[in-house]
């Protein structure tokens, strides 16, 4: 057993427990500042993760846990996201009536779950890490007990999340029943034999359903808009970035590490799901007036774009997903940080709340606009290059699968539709009339730092994508593509 491999996770759990304990001795007015301590701790762990190497996959806990390039990539991803989300939560602290320290701790527990998910090499670990993420998010979504929307979000997420977990665990049981193992490595050996049994395929399909809920892919996306809308902004941000990425890493592992031989037969299924997800997310986003709900639909659409990379079934596609997630991370976090700051005391998160933002705070206005433009996929921002890589992967696939060209057409249609509503937000920021509130917004320095970091990253990834592309290509070598 090689405990040192999962040192990062244990560090995160330890830091989370430390925050819980520190809460006992912290005077009430100081409690919100525990968030900075939490962010600093996670930041340090993030820096420590940069020192780790994973040239060859290393296993622990009876091969249940794997540390390879892919896992490390995602751990860094989650750690960075958590830092920004924690900073955001400090900003949000005065809108939470009680238990702010617990809020920070729960974010860190969810983070630990995501990091375990990144290393999961066994269905058991997949299930428990996913449950850890989901259960913490049940609480995080309904943290503003005083607000009906927040409670509604919590209840909806609870019911649909429980349903998804049921699918997942049922699927795992079926797979285990046929293959007599839950380990990915052993499954790959027995998959060819087992794939003759329809029950095995049914089990895998149910697992996919469970993961589909996590990434909000069509037709399991219904929870996303309501939950995104109702949850506290930092929760939504973490849900949009962390939970979705956790779903994708598990999807990649299950499809391309556990049962690659079966996956190749599912190209058409994945293509249809990707196309429908893109269309659904983009079409439904058009009439939205609530900014968080709009981002909820847009996150569905982005899950669809990333599914393009899954459907492409080549290493170009998978590395494109990694790149895309990297770009998505900074973009979405920038957007939600701005929302978190701007929507103070605004009921309904309506787009009109950002009207005239450029006069109230140029930094916030620029951040949100750049985020929208990057989400729309316009160069030189990060989002464009991500879409470029995904489309390239699908075009490469097109040589053997002519249906891919239809998928490309759908994706392009989605991108064009999305430009409409993203530009709508930008328009509201820069020249909508009749905004009542025109006072300057004070932006605290940690928020400024995280916004500048996100903006810099958006430009860096868009202008100099080579480094991340190489890292992503290295990372996906862990998959059997």
């Amino acid at each position: 057993m090689n405990l040192s491999l999962s040192i990062l996770e244990f560090a995160v759990i330890g830091a989370g427990l430390a925050i819980l304990l520190a809460d006992l001795w912290t005077p009430v007015p100081q409690k919100r500042n525990l968030g900075y301590a939490a962010a600093a701790a996670v930041g340090l762990i993030f820096l420590a993760s940069m020192l780790m190497q994973a040239a060859a996959p290393a296993y622990a806990f009876e091969k249940m846990y794997v540390l390879d390039g892919l896992a490390l990539f995602f751990k860094r991803f989650f750690l960075f996201a958590a830092v920004i989300v924690l900073v955001m939560s400090v900003e949000f602290a005065d809108r939470i009536e009680a238990g702010i320290a617990e809020y920070y701790a729960l974010i860190m527990f969810a983070l630990a779950g995501m990091m375990f998910a990144a290393s999961a090499n066994d269905f058991i670990l997949v299930f428990v890490s996913l449950e850890l993420i989901t259960v913490t998010f049940y609480v995080l979504t309904s943290f503003q007990r005083g607000r009906l929307h927040s409670l509604e979000a919590g209840v909806k997420y609870l019911i649909l999340g429980a349903l998804a977990s049921a699918f997942l665990v049922y699927g795992i049981a079926l797979v285990f029943g046929v293959a007599n193992t839950t380990n990915f490595g052993e499954l790959m050996g027995s998959a060819r034999v087992a794939s003759a049994r329809p029950v095995f395929l049914l089990g895998l399909l149910l697992v996919l359903v469970g993961l589909g809920f996590k990434i909000a892919a069509f037709p399991f996306q219904i929870w996303a808009p309501d939950v995104y809308q109702g949850s506290p902004a930092p929760t939504t941000a973490f849900l949009a970035v962390g939970s979705k990425a956790a779903g994708f890493i598990l999807l990649l592992r299950v499809l391309f590490s556990a049962v690659p031989e079966i996956t190749v037969n599912w190209t058409k299924l994945l293509m249809v799901i990707a196309g429908m997800t893109i269309l659904y997310g983009n079409l439904c986003a058009i009439p939205q007036r609530n900014l968080k709900r709009l981002l909820g639909y847009s996150s569905i659409a982005h899950a669809g774009y990333m599914l393009l990379g899954v459907a492409a079934m080549n290493s170009a596609g998978s590395s494109a997903i990694l790149y895309y997630l990297g770009a998505y991370l900074f973009t979405v976090l920038a957007a939600f940080t701005v929302i978190c700051v701007v929507m103070r005391g605004v009921e309904g998160d309506d787009i009109s709340a950002v009207a005239g933002l450029h006069q109230r705070s140029p930094l916030l206005a620029a951040s949100l606009s750049l985020a929208m433009v990057s989400l729309a996929g316009i160069p030189p921002l990060a989002g464009f290059f991500g879409k470029f890589l995904l489309l390239k992967a699908v075009v490469e696939k097109g040589a053997t699968q002519p249906g891919c060209y239809w998928l490309i057409a759908v994706a392009i249609l989605g991108v064009v539709i999305s430009l409409y509503y993203y530009l709508g937000v930008v328009r509201a920021i820069y020249w909508s009339k009749g905004s009542a509130e025109l006072s300057d917004i004070k932006v605290s320095w940690p928020i400024q730092v995280s916004l500048y970091a996100c903006i810099a990253a958006m430009f860096y990834l868009g202008l100099f994508p080579d480094r991340l592309v190489n890292i992503a290509m290295e990372a996906v070598k862990a998959l059997k593509l």
Binding site: P379, I412, L423
Partner: protein
């Protein structure tokens, strides 16, 4: 020298952003200064770079080595021509928007960003880079129209943005497909152009990329963004839109679609030639019945850009060089026309209805504007002595060789063009004074120095090229013998 056209524009953007908010005058000066630097760089570059029948390398750095994408700037005669055009149009546009007070700093920042993107497109010889610059121009365009525009500005801006975006998405797919099919891990234009793409691939890739670009060049029936966009745009933006941005589309169609896929071009020559001629005639006919001054000019742009596309479809040297010359010529003339309509007339009278202008007796109120418009219309009609004549004549000769019927139809288009310009000229400036008409004359402010200089710059350019077209033709014609056009020569019999 030439790459500095791009860099100086973006430096200008940054400088403008650093200016304090309410410094309209400083913003104007910075913008004009930047645009002048760009023009000087362009002219100096055009004199310095002896492209001849080759592609002159300017700058080549590795950018994204894992995908074989380079930061690769180069120029041939076609690029040089259009870079010079961009420089002239940029300076003129700023002179014509000297009266912008509302958020002037942001206006000029977006304006220069657009200019920088346009320079970038004309100088990129790496397809990915070209595409990035091409897309870079969309957002500033949208903002310029949606914030500072008039008449249904948000509709016009969104329509323009969506059309551009659809076009560029088609182009992107075509480029990725070409990249993947060639399999050489390169986005270098010259290398890809020499790759023999399979004919079956070219048959669908060519229309995809060509239409993607030509949407921005106002190819009928995808032209509908052009009139609404031009009308909604503020003066400087519509000058740029007609003067330069539409050229981006035509340039891309020639530079990318035609050189990469010559067999596809050959197969689609007649259909697209037909669309081009339809655009010429249709644009002219519709312009004939417009009641809004700016819509006349908007539709005339569609018609004139039809000549560019027709010239491209002739696939012979005369037609192609005519097309490039027409790009230059229309850029100058359309800029001038939009300047007169938007700045000289609309900003003073606050109406663009020809029926209302008819009663205002403008030729006496603002005589300089009348003269300018007279010159511009004459140039636009294609009278000898102005650049439009040489360009359209070449296109017609080329078309006559390639498809005589279309040549004749295009000639009809020119005649209709004369008709609508004369009608507009008469209604706008030289109407008989209607009894009981308003005596608006005295209240109009006189034409400012900035406008005079801008108008003179554009008129002078058109006149110089009209009188001595070899100035540009000596640049343009040899570039069709560069290695870039080898494929076109072999595949489509240029």
């Amino acid at each position: 020298m030439l790459p500095w056209t791009i860099y100086s524009s973006f430096v200008g953007v940054v400088m403008l952003m650093l200016l304090p908010r309410e410094q309209a005058r400083a913003a104007r000066v910075v913008a004009l200064f930047t645009a002048l630097i760009g023009l000087v760089c362009a002219l100096a570059g055009a004199l310095q770079v002896q492209a001849g029948s080759s592609v002159a390398e300017l700058c080549r750095l590795e950018w994204i080595p894992s995908l074989g994408i380079d930061y690769h700037l180069a120029a041939d005669g076609i690029s040089l021509t259009l870079v010079v055009l961009t420089g002239i149009a940029a300076v003129a546009g700023i002179l014509f928007s000297w009266n912008i007070e509302h958020r002037a700093k942001e206006f000029f920042a977006f304006y220069l960003a657009l200019i920088g993107g346009v320079y970038g497109v004309f100088l990129s010889f790496d397809l990915f880079l070209l595409f990035v610059f091409y897309e870079l121009a969309i957002i500033p365009k949208y903002f310029l129209i949606a914030i500072w525009g008039s008449t249904r500005k948000e509709y016009g801006a969104m329509k323009l943005a969506l059309y551009s975006f659809v076009g560029s998405a088609m182009v992107l797919i075509g480029l990725i497909a070409a990249y993947v099919v060639a399999g050489a891990k390169t986005m270098n234009l010259v290398e890809l152009a020499s790759y023999p793409f399979p004919a079956s691939f070219q048959y669908w890739a060519f229309p995809l990329v060509f239409v993607g670009f030509a949407i921005l060049a106002g190819l009928w029936p995808f032209h509908t963004w052009a009139p609404t966009g031009h009308v909604a745009a503020p003066t400087a933006a519509s000058m740029l839109l007609a003067g330069v941005v539409m050229k981006l589309g035509a340039y891309g169609a020639l530079r990318v679609a035609m050189t990469l896929f010559p067999l596809g071009l050959k197969a689609w020559q007649i259909p697209f030639g037909f669309l081009a001629v339809t655009g010429i005639v249709y644009g002219a006919m519709v312009a004939l019945v417009q009641s809004d001054f700016k819509f006349v000019i908007g539709y005339s742009s569609v018609s004139h850009m039809g000549f560019v596309l027709l010239g491209l479809m002739t696939i012979n040297e005369v037609g192609l060089s005519g097309a490039v010359l027409q790009m230059f010529s229309h850029g100058v003339i359309a800029g001038l026309l939009f300047g007169v309509v938007g700045r000289m007339v609309y900003d003073r009278t606050h109406t663009r209805e020809l029926a209302a202008l008819q009663r205002m007796n403008l030729s006496q109120a603002i005589p300089y504007a009348a003269v300018t418009f007279l010159v511009a219309s004459v140039a636009s009609m294609g009278l000898p002595g102005f650049s439009g004549f040489v360009a359209e004549l070449q296109v017609l000769i080329g078309a006559w060789h390639a498809f005589p019927t279309f040549g004749i139809l295009a000639g009809v288009g020119i005649l209709v063009g004369v008709a609508y310009m004369l009608r507009t000229l008469q209604k706008s400036f030289f109407a008989d004074r209607a009894p009981g008409g308003q005596q608006h004359g005295h209240s109009l402010e006189s034409i400012s120095v900035a406008e005079r200089v801008g108008a003179a710059l554009l008129m002078g350019t058109s006149l110089v090229i009209g009188l001595y077209p070899r100035l540009l033709l000596d640049l343009i014609v040899p570039s069709f013998h560069s290695p870039l056009f080898d494929g076109l020569r072999k595949g489509a019999g240029l």
